[in-house]
Amino acid sequence: MDIILAVIIGTVFGFVLQRIGAADPDKIIGMLRLTDLHLMRTIFAGIGISSALLFIGMMAGIIDPGHLSVKSMYTGVIFGGMLLGLGWALSGFCPGTGVVALGTGRIDALFFILGGLGGAAVYMMMYGGLKSTFLMQKLFGGKATLVVTAKSTAILDMSWSPWIAIGIGIMMLIVAKLLPEKIR
């Protein structure tokens, strides 16, 4: 059953990433140069809609919070995020969109994935030495969220704080609406 869901949701996700232009390096680099904000609007809307519906669904008891999975916060998140940003701007791909772009027949995506396998392999070999350094130092107590969820420690530890998540979601949707499509 899990494998069938993997095929269905993976295919849908790949299809959507292609149709919104996220697997097109011109669109990614256009967004990062702040000249073409179409993808920025799409991403803001996507996070806003999914987050608002997720918290509404959990409050209404329709969505099982058991499938949530919050990633830990540690120093390496910041440094790793900065490195990812550098390579993302350079190539116009991130891990997911590189995989999707390969499916569309892009040769440059194949090179991105080969480079990615190399980068991941080097990290695997360095991990033994890195795991007791400051890079793995937990921050905010590790699995932290802004609002209360079943799977994390909340910064805003009040029972009504999921309303804030719904508010943030709606705000992101409004930001997406207000952002201009092209700037320069």
Binding site: L34, L68, V99, V100, G119, I164
Partner: protein, 185 residues
């Protein structure tokens, strides 16, 4: 050609929601490690071994594959698991998306991005080198961060994870100036 922001954003949001409702939040970058592990284990079959004392039933001589009770080691030993098949299916999804797009340019793939051509010319070798280097940095960074644009930024911010917000800030803080400097006309 591409969906407008609202249609695209709704589809993207529903994909992320569907995943967390039915199975678990979407993530991609871990599977690069799993594929590395599969390749490594093919070359040297002592990399991942069955181990009844390990929490997940497998252990590895590599510290990263061995972490969390051999969680990644188990995925390497059994590639037909949800997360790996999910990422393989994304390749197929991309192909379907391209087919259904019905481009006016007869569906021909634009192999070298226009921003790249303006800055570096239309030599495919140069583009290959840049994407290889970019991929290397992106995946090293994603593994150090414990997630990528999908896992940290989208799935994370959807759940209001602190790691998701700070990852997104760090990534954009470097990506925006880098893109402006490298790809200025």
């Amino acid at each position: 050609m591409y969906w407008n922001w609202f249609k695209g954003g709704s589809a993207l949001g529903i994909a992320f929601l569907l995943a967390v409702v039915l199975v678990k939040p979407i993530g991609v970058s871990t599977q690069f490690v799993i594929l590395d592990g599969i390749i490594g284990d093919t070359l040297d079959n002592t990399l991942v071994v069955e181990d009844k004392t390990a929490k997940k039933g497998y252990s590895s001589s590599n510290a990263y594959l061995n972490k969390s009770g051999g969680k990644y080691a188990k995925s390497v030993a059994h590639p037909l698991n949800y997360s790996f098949v999910f990422v393989l299916s994304m390749v197929f999804g991309g192909l379907l998306g391209k087919i259904f797009q019905g481009e006016s340019s007869s569906g021909k793939v634009k192999q070298i991005p226009e921003v790249h051509q303006r800055r570096f010319g239309n030599n495919p070798v140069m583009r290959g080198l840049i994407t290889f280097a970019g991929g290397f940095i992106v995946l090293f960074g994603a593994r150090l961060a414990g997630g990528c644009t999908s896992g940290h930024m989208m799935s994370g911010m959807m759940q209001t994870s602190i790691s998701g917000y700070l990852f997104a800030l760090a990534a954009f803080a470097v990506a925006v100036p880098t893109a402006i400097i490298i790809y200025k006309k």
